[in-house]
């Protein structure tokens, strides 16, 4: 255990830097996502894949209705207001409402929402035991073993993407022999612990270990999150922003998006890219491409 006073004088000025002053982290990667809302059909395959990949327990209809579910990735449905129907054929409000259905043609939009891995995450500083922190990969990590379940992080998340294990769901969700189908790369959480989307950190770490073993850098596209892998329309793109040759870095560049600001300053205001709640200065790393609407 290094001496208590040892580190404090070494890099004192470094320790005083917040996000606005460049931060303390020397990031090795900056994993982020781009989700094209025009391609998303709301099929929920990503959500299901997330359940399978991350050992998420189903909780049953009653508990889901009581909002005690464990869905890390949810598909949010938004309906256009009735007098804005996408067909643009001038139908009255009542008729538009009557024709409203779950299709994009008739005014429904779908938005996959998961942990945005904010660079200035509001959930991180409020955990009393430091169970959630920012890794050098740019991910917001949740340490299940350290979590004592105070749930302050979930209160502070503006996206409401954190799930708490209100029960020990494992015995009911995976009665034997269904527990044979669990993903061995990731733990099964017990009650009293907070969890959320990790950008499939188990796959990230596995790829990093493979790359290290083979003495090379991680290639773009080598890591695929479960949701990205399953999406039938390839609406989800995942990659490392610090790798300038990666597809995702190019998408962010094309959309003229910058990290570390709470208001983008784009030369072309018609660009589709936006981040949710970035005005709260949380610096989210998921870029959403707005659905194309006919005018």
């Amino acid at each position: 255990m290094p001496s208590l006073l040892g580190n404090i004088f070494d890099i004192w000025s470094d320790y005083l830097k917040g996000n606005e002053q460049g931060g303390h982290h020397k990031y090795e990667h900056m994993y982020s996502m781009v989700i094209d809302l025009d391609k998303c059909t709301g099929c929920n395959a990503c959500s299901t894949a997330c359940y399978a990949e991350n050992n998420l327990a189903w909780v049953g209809e009653e508990k889901f209705g009581a909002r005690q579910a464990m869905n890390w990735l949810r598909i949010e449905r938004y309906f256009d207001e009735p007098d804005m129907d996408a067909a643009g054929d001038g139908h009255g409000m009542e008729q538009a409402a009557a024709t409203q259905s779950d299709t994009q043609d008739r005014g429904a939009s779908f938005l996959p929402m998961m942990c945005q891995q904010c660079n200035a995450a509001p959930c991180e500083p409020v955990c009393p035991v430091a169970a959630t922190y920012h890794t050098v990969d740019g991910l917001n990590a949740q340490v299940y073993n350290r979590c004592i379940g105070s749930r302050y992080c979930a209160n502070n998340c503006p996206f409401r993407v954190r799930n708490f294990n209100f029960y020990d769901n494992a015995p009911t969700a995976w009665p034997a022999p269904m527990d044979q189908g669990l993903n061995p790369d990731i733990s099964v959480r017990s009650k009293g612990v907070m969890e959320k989307c990790t950008f499939c950190i188990q796959r990230t770490r596995a790829a990093r270990d493979t790359a290290k073993r083979e003495g090379r850098e991680i290639r773009d596209g080598e890591i695929q999150t479960a949701c990205q892998q399953t999406c039938p329309t390839s609406a989800i793109l995942f990659g490392d922003l610090l790798d300038e040759t990666s597809k995702i870095a190019q998408v962010w560049k094309r959309q003229q998006m910058k990290l570390g600001v709470y208001k983008q300053d784009k030369a072309n205001p018609e660009l589709r890219g936006y981040r949710i709640f970035e005005e709260l200065n949380v610096d989210p790393k998921v870029l959403y491409l707005e659905r194309v609407r006919e005018v």
């Binding site: 290094p2 208590l4 006073l5 040892g6 580190n7 404090i8 070494d10 004192w12 470094d14 320790y15 005083l16 830097k17 917040g18 996000n19 606005e20 002053q21 931060g23 303390h24 982290h25 660079n119 200035a120 995450a121 509001p122 959930c123 991180e124 500083p125 409020v126 955990c127 430091a130 959630t132 922190y133 920012h134 200065n281 610096d283």
Partner: protein, 184 residues
Amino acid sequence: MSGGAKKIVVKTKRVLGLFGDFDAAFEAIADIRRYKVPGVTVDDVTLKSPIEHPEIEDVLGERTSDVPKWSFWGGLFGLVFGFFFLASAQATFLVQPQGGKPVITIPSNVVLAYEMMILFGVIATLIGFIIGARLMRKGEGLYDTAISVDQIGIVIEVTDGQLQPLKDVFATHNVLEVHEEALT
């Protein structure tokens, strides 16, 4: 009294005089201050009372207490120790969550150091009180339970020769009871 070499006087008796009201005790001590009892000065007097009487210092002489010093140094220690303890812990625990915030955050450390200042200040005050008031000592002698009800006691250590003049002074001020005990 007889000017000249200082003599070391061996006190042989401890006397407790119980008075029914504060003003009588006040006047008795005033008499002692005016040297009505040869050889006994106000510095030898201890007042035992059911309530505090800061006004007794008009006759008893100004006496000081060290407790504020304890409070000050305790508080200062708490403040400095608190801040550096926290900053050191934060500097050592480098995986500290970021949230876009620095590792050593001045606002939170100031808040916590403030609390530590008060905690250590209070504890130091308590220690200073116990030491200064000479509490928790055995057998400091001559106490009457009437003191905790409504009587005031004056305790003086005297030699045999001073005993009678002292009792006379007490008697002129309506002393209720006089207790004696031999000092060993």
